[in-house]
């Protein structure tokens, strides 16, 4: 990480919020200034506050943040599978030039599964406990793919289970989710999501419940499948190691806002947001084994009680007056990535 020290920021200039430079083809999915809120008894919870990003074919976009940062809600907003009390209050989600918000119920049903599928965080609550694994896998296959008969679907289900590394797939198909270990259940979920070979795969903490060697297998598998099928992946996770291994583009989220966005190298070697910097320092890494970790003090944000200014301000060591009252805009850093932190403005003014 020696590079972090040597890179000297020259200046930061304010530009309007704009996604990263565009390759030739249009993005598969474009999220524009998304605001998602939940109406609860204790008030409106603004889980996502103005998130924008473009997702390109064959790319892996990493969304990283801790619990309550709004990363999962962003993913759920895309599929419109929010809880009853949740709604998208502002912004738009565009899939292949058409707004998903204008889709009818039927179109949305076809979109989920066929075009975009999701791997959930918690494999226990996302599998139905009263049906066998085989029934649930076949259901997805028969509904969305060419494997219409029970026999075809069963054969395909066995293939899928083998693909995700489930041992004795024939036996597993007859078992209920409670009979499987957590890791095994998650692999069934992944098999289910990959069943329809979607254009976009949203992976919400896909490997959090898995062991390292299995995680390595699954990540490898996701990469292989992505190259094969050319699908785009949104990888939502809190694990910076997984992000570093997998992603081309990274978004760092905190308190429902984007703190920083850029390539993996930008985020890991030249972090420009106080939160990203803190996060990287708090991780055990190969080169800080003998030192005490530097944790971020305080506790994660309470979304019901959001600060007026920067969401990270209450935990930030370098917070200034302006951080308390004004939300920082995303700024273009000299190396071409974006960060929303007042410190950058201060540094630019100092030099």
């Amino acid at each position: 990480m020696a590079e972090t020290k040597t890179v000297k920021r020259v200046k930061a200039h304010i530009v309007p919020k704009k996604p990263a430079p565009t390759p030739d083809e249009p993005p598969v999915l474009s999220v524009q200034n998304l605001h998602t809120s939940f109406i609860t008894d204790s008030g409106e919870v603004r889980a996502v506050n103005g998130v924008s990003f473009d997702l390109y074919k064959g790319k892996i976009l990493g969304v990283v943040g801790e619990s309550g940062s709004g990363k999962s809600v962003t993913a759920y907003s895309i599929l419109q599978i929010l809880d009853q009390n949740g709604r998208i209050v502002e912004g738009d989600i565009v899939f292949r030039d058409k707004s998903l918000l204008s889709y009818s119920q039927k179109e949305m049903d076809a979109f989920r599964g066929n075009k975009c599928s999701i791997i959930f965080q918690d494999p226990m609550t996302s599998l139905n406990p009263v049906f066998t694994v085989g029934y649930q896998l076949r259901e997805a296959l028969q509904l969305h793919t060419k494997y219409k008969t029970k026999q075809q679907a069963t054969e395909r289900a066995v293939q899928l289970l083998e693909m995700v590394g489930v041992n004795e797939p024939d036996k597993r198909l007859r078992q209920y989710p409670f009979e499987l270990s957590g890791g095994m259940r998650q692999r069934v979920m992944i098999a289910m999501a990959l069943a329809c070979e979607p254009d976009i795969l949203i992976a919400d903490e896909p490997t959090t419940a898995l062991d390292v060697t299995i995680q390595a297998q699954i990540l490898e598998l996701m990469k292989d499948l992505q190259e094969e099928l050319g699908m785009a992946i949104i990888l939502v996770t809190h694990d910076l190691g997984v992000i570093a291994t997998m992603c081309d583009e990274i978004i760092v989220m905190y308190g429902g806002r984007v703190c920083e966005r850029g390539t993996a190298e930008d985020i890991f070697y030249r972090p420009c947001h106080e939160y990203t910097k803190g996060l990287l320092k708090s991780l055990p890494n190969t080169d800080n084994m003998k030192e005490r970790l530097v944790p971020i003090s305080g506790t994660p944000i309470n979304l019901l009680n959001m600060p007026e200014g920067c969401a990270f301000c209450p935990r930030c060591e370098n917070a200034m007056k302006i951080c308390l009252t004004e939300q920082p805009e995303e700024l273009l850093m000299p190396d071409g990535h974006y960060a929303a932190c007042w410190m950058n403005v201060k540094e630019a003014m100092d030099t």
Binding site: L240, A264, P295, S297
Partner: protein
């Protein structure tokens, strides 16, 4: 308090620990599931031994068996030179405690924080008056970085990191010299993980406690441990100094385990040549003969199928159980 007044060099001595669970496979047929199959290790006072392995390898069972939450099938466990049996475990639990993985389900939702932390004091009758109990609880809360005002609250009012602090305060209540930490940070947020890891290290410096730190995150284990033991299917395959193990792993399983770690550094992560293991972990009900790892090992030979290798010293307290490496 944690004065060492026993003769052995080690605080914890585990020898050939076995824990089999009976599993019904038919109406009359019961097969032993060998969760832990002959595990031996020692821990020095004030040391942290990290225990890593994949889920189902028996690492949690080892921790639980040591505290006699399960009655072991075989083997011995000596604590401060004294053999731990079903008879004396009640008293010894004052010396040995456990921190559980899930800070949500391991705290009673109907009890206030003061009662949760005070319960071990009640059980072992460690106070004379209510005031003394209150005082002790407040001291413990301060030790783990909780405010005194939190004492009257219930567990659900806290975040994951704070709950884990409550769990740690509870385990420290009886002033133990040995704590089994069963995945204490895996349920926590990244930014909170570092706080809790630091707290474990600070408590060790302050109180001189000995940890058996069970976890699956190898970077976390490497950071906190002095020595690391790697388990596979109920056996320890390699045990060595933490740095030595990371720089110079010998057992083929350790090699692939270390190569599977996702380092939070894109250049290193992408340059990392993964040794992806083929196949699956065999079912512990149907263990392969000889070395348990041989079915996935690329160096496996005839000998591996016939006889299980035992841990042998490769110098510098680096023990490896492998015929070929």
């Amino acid at each position: 308090m944690n004065t060492v007044n026993f003769n052995s060099e080690y605080l914890v001595e585990v020898e050939d620990l076995k824990m089999y669970f009976p599993v019904k496979t038919g109406f009359f047929k019961t097969v032993p599931l060998k969760a832990v199959d002959g595990v031996s290790f020692n821990i020095r006072p004030g040391e942290t031994l990290g225990l890593v392995g994949e889920s189902g390898c028996g690492k949690t069972t080892v921790g639980r068996t040591l505290l006699r939450l399960y009655e072991p099938t075989g083997g011995t466990f000596r604590f401060k030179g004294e053999e731990v049996t079903a008879k004396n475990i009640g008293a010894l639990r004052k010396e040995m405690q456990m921190v559980f993985q899930d800070p949500y389900s391991s705290l009673n939702p109907r009890m206030t924080v003061e009662d949760i932390i005070g319960e071990p004091l009640d059980v072992h009758k460690l106070y004379n008056s209510k005031e003394e109990r209150h005082e002790k609880v407040l001291h413990l809360m301060e030790l783990v970085g909780l405010n005194a005002e939190h004492a009257t609250r219930y567990a659900h009012e806290f975040s994951g990191g704070q709950r884990q602090r409550i769990g740690i305060a509870r385990s420290l209540a009886v002033d133990p010299s040995f704590i089994v930490c069963d995945e204490p940070v895996s349920a926590l947020d990244v930014s909170i993980q570092a706080q809790v890891i630091n707290m474990f290290e600070e408590l060790q410096d302050k109180l001189g406690v000995t940890y058996l730190f069970i976890a699956h995150d190898l970077l976390v284990v490497h950071h906190i441990s002095d020595r690391i033991a790697v388990m596979y299917l109920g056996r320890i395959v390699e045990i060595a100094d933490a740095d030595e193990l990371n720089e110079n792993p010998i057992h083929p399983y350790t090699l692939s385990l270390l190569s599977a770690v996702c380092v939070p550094d894109p250049v290193k992560a992408k340059a990392n040549k993964r040794i992806i293991l083929e196949g699956d972990v065999p079912s512990p009900l149907n263990m392969p003969s000889g070395c348990p790892f041989r079915t996935r090992c690329r160096y496996a030979t005839e000998q591996c199928a016939q006889e299980a290798p035992s841990l042998t010293d490769r110098g510098n307290e680096h023990l490896v159980a492998c015929w070929n490496k």
